[in-house]
């Protein structure tokens, strides 16, 4: 059986001549359909860059990204983009301040030439627990948690198979974080979504993901399970130090 997403020897370099540096290097992993995988590491280790490469936001990478065995070109085609969507960290920055919720949700539908757009907008707003009365609101009329729900709705409206989550709850209050995490878990169950998530919060990571890659200096140094995170157990010395440093208490 082929994995849903497979990443092979992914790398990206920046700078020229003697300034040249590999930001991420030789990253390979696979994710099965419906699985949740996490990336953790210190700030600056390249976790978000990996996500951006997979999403197609960083086209000048080397290596391979394949969906269900079919290799994707660095410049993604529209249909490929539709299958993977990304949720960003800061819901205050990721929504256009002068577009109403309806317009934010309509735009991907127009780009992807999808039918039944009005119905789809209502459906997706219901799915994220907002309801269609929110369609004529501007982002400044929403709370942080509501904005993140809109951002998730924006991803879901194209009916993707995979979500790339870049610190989806770290800008939110803990009470709101629980609501968003519950929403993400419910949606994964209902729609059989595949998640790749970046977060620095080990408890959130263990809650959502079953396999977690520890990154250091642009490389994946080991793959551990949520059980390992809960027990604070890693194979490599760096992984062990990392878990010790990041564990609360």
């Amino acid at each position: 059986m082929t994995a849903f997403l497979s990443v092979t020897e992914l790398g990206i370099g920046m700078g020229q001549d003697d300034q040249y540096r590999r930001i991420i290097d030789d990253i390979s992993f696979e994710i099965g359909r419906g699985e949740s995988v996490g990336l953790i590491g210190e700030s600056g280790c390249g976790k978000s860059t990996v996500l951006r490469c997979i999403a197609g936001l960083n086209p000048d990478y080397d290596g391979e990204v394949a969906l269900e065995g079919v290799q994707l070109r660095p410049r993604r085609r529209k249909l490929e983009l539709r299958r993977m969507q990304m949720v960003f960290q800061d819901p205050y920055a990721s929504l256009h301040p002068r577009k109403m919720v309806r317009d934010v949700l309509m735009e991907p539908l127009v780009v992807q030439k999808m039918d039944r757009s009005e119905e789809r907008v209502s459906e997706v707003l219901d799915a994220v627990g907002l309801g269609s009365r929110f369609r004529y609101r501007f982002p400044h009329q929403l709370s942080g948690g509501q904005r993140q729900r809109v951002a998730i709705a924006r991803c879901l409206v194209t009916e993707p198979e995979m979500l790339l989550l870049d610190e989806p709850t770290s800008a939110l209050d803990v009470s709101v974080q629980a609501e968003i995490l519950n929403l993400l878990m419910r949606l994964r169950h209902e729609r059989n979504l595949t998640y790749l998530m970046v977060t620095h919060d080990l408890a959130v990571m263990a809650h959502v993901c079953s396999r977690i890659a520890i990154m250091h200096d642009g490389r994946i140094i080991e793959m551990i399970s949520d059980r390992d995170i809960r027990d604070g157990r890693a194979q490599t010395p760096y992984g062990q130090d990392f878990l010790n440093a990041y564990r609360p208490g």
């Binding site: 803990v174 629980a178 620095h200 408890a203 809960r230 990392f242 440093a245 609360p248």
Partner: protein, 289 residues
């Protein structure tokens, strides 16, 4: 317990006037001795505004009313702006969230630390420089001669925040208000910055008000925790007893955190009860030290 350093009784902050008035802080009372007090709450609960009101840094549109707001016997609300300048920085200072925004980008780091000291102490340039270097060393900046001459964009977030701490501690204040001092930092750097802060506070006996949304962090770092909800303090509890908190709001916050030792399929979410808005503060008895 000895005489409190800061006494606040029935503090109210009202933004705007008439129909649009927003009552952001509604009757907050607490004392701070020479201890570390944490204020936690969600965004919009009034915790930052309380911190700012103590420094009299609220925007001019805010109406501050309090029965009493005394710092070391000085009624803060009755001070003139000139008198306040003698208190700000010198007696009470403030550490803000993000060093990227709170350091002057056009001034060398060392000069900013020197300025912070020379505003309040008449000393020669050379002596101030020596003190600034010593202070940078105290916040565990290696190679402080080099860092002294750098600009804020040339240092990392963690180092920037340690520079902030150096700036705020060099006039030797009696109290520090830290508003989310580590939220912009990476988790591993966070511990390092907090241990530097803790060590320096302990050496000098400086009081601390630590404002944060992170319950676990506050419980770990502070002696006492005030939980704020909708502009009021709903619970006042010793940090090590936080798990024994009884207010449903505090419990709700604690329960909504995913926990490493208790895997769960669905996280419990906070069910807000309108009576919390006006319920009296729950005080927990504190043992006499």
């Amino acid at each position: 317990m000895d005489k409190p350093l800061l006494t606040i009784e029935d503090l109210h902050l009202v933004f705007g006037q008439g129909q649009n008035a927003v009552h952001a802080v509604r009757g907050v009372s607490f004392n701070v001795g020479r201890e570390k007090v944490g204020i936690v709450g969600e965004s919009g609960s009034g915790k930052s505004q309380t911190g700012r009101a103590i420094m009299r840094l609220s925007p001019s549109t805010v109406n501050i009313v309090a029965k009493k707001m005394d710092f070391d016997g000085i009624p803060l609300l009755q001070q003139t702006e000139r008198q306040m300048r003698q208190i700000r920085g010198n007696r009470i200072s403030m550490i803000l969230q993000d060093p990227k925004f709170s350091l002057n980008p056009l001034m060398r780091i060392g000069d900013q630390v020197v300025e912070a000291y020379r505003v309040h102490h008449k000393v020669s340039r050379r002596e101030a420089r020596a003190r600034a270097l010593k202070m940078l060393d105290a916040v565990r900046i290696r190679d402080c001669e080099r860092v002294f001459n750098l600009y804020p964009h040339e240092v990392s977030g963690g180092m920037g925040q340690r520079v902030m701490i150096a700036m705020m501690l060099i006039p030797e204040p009696d109290m520090i208000i830290a508003d989310e001092p580590t939220s912009a930092l990476d988790v591993s750097v966070r511990k390092q910055v907090l241990s530097v802060l803790d060590e320096l506070l302990r050496q000098r006996g400086t009081a601390l008000i630590f404002i944060s949304h992170d319950l676990n962090l506050v419980a770990e770092f502070c002696d006492r925790v005030l939980v704020m909800y909708a502009g009021r303090v709903v619970e006042d509890i010793a940090a090590r007893d936080l798990h024994k908190a009884i207010h449903p709001y505090t419990r709700g916050l604690l329960d909504s955190l995913p926990k490493l030792d208790q895997p769960r399929d669905v996280l419990s979410t906070l069910q807000r009860d309108p009576i919390w808005r006006d319920a009296p503060t729950i005080f927990h008895p504190r043992e006499v030290r």
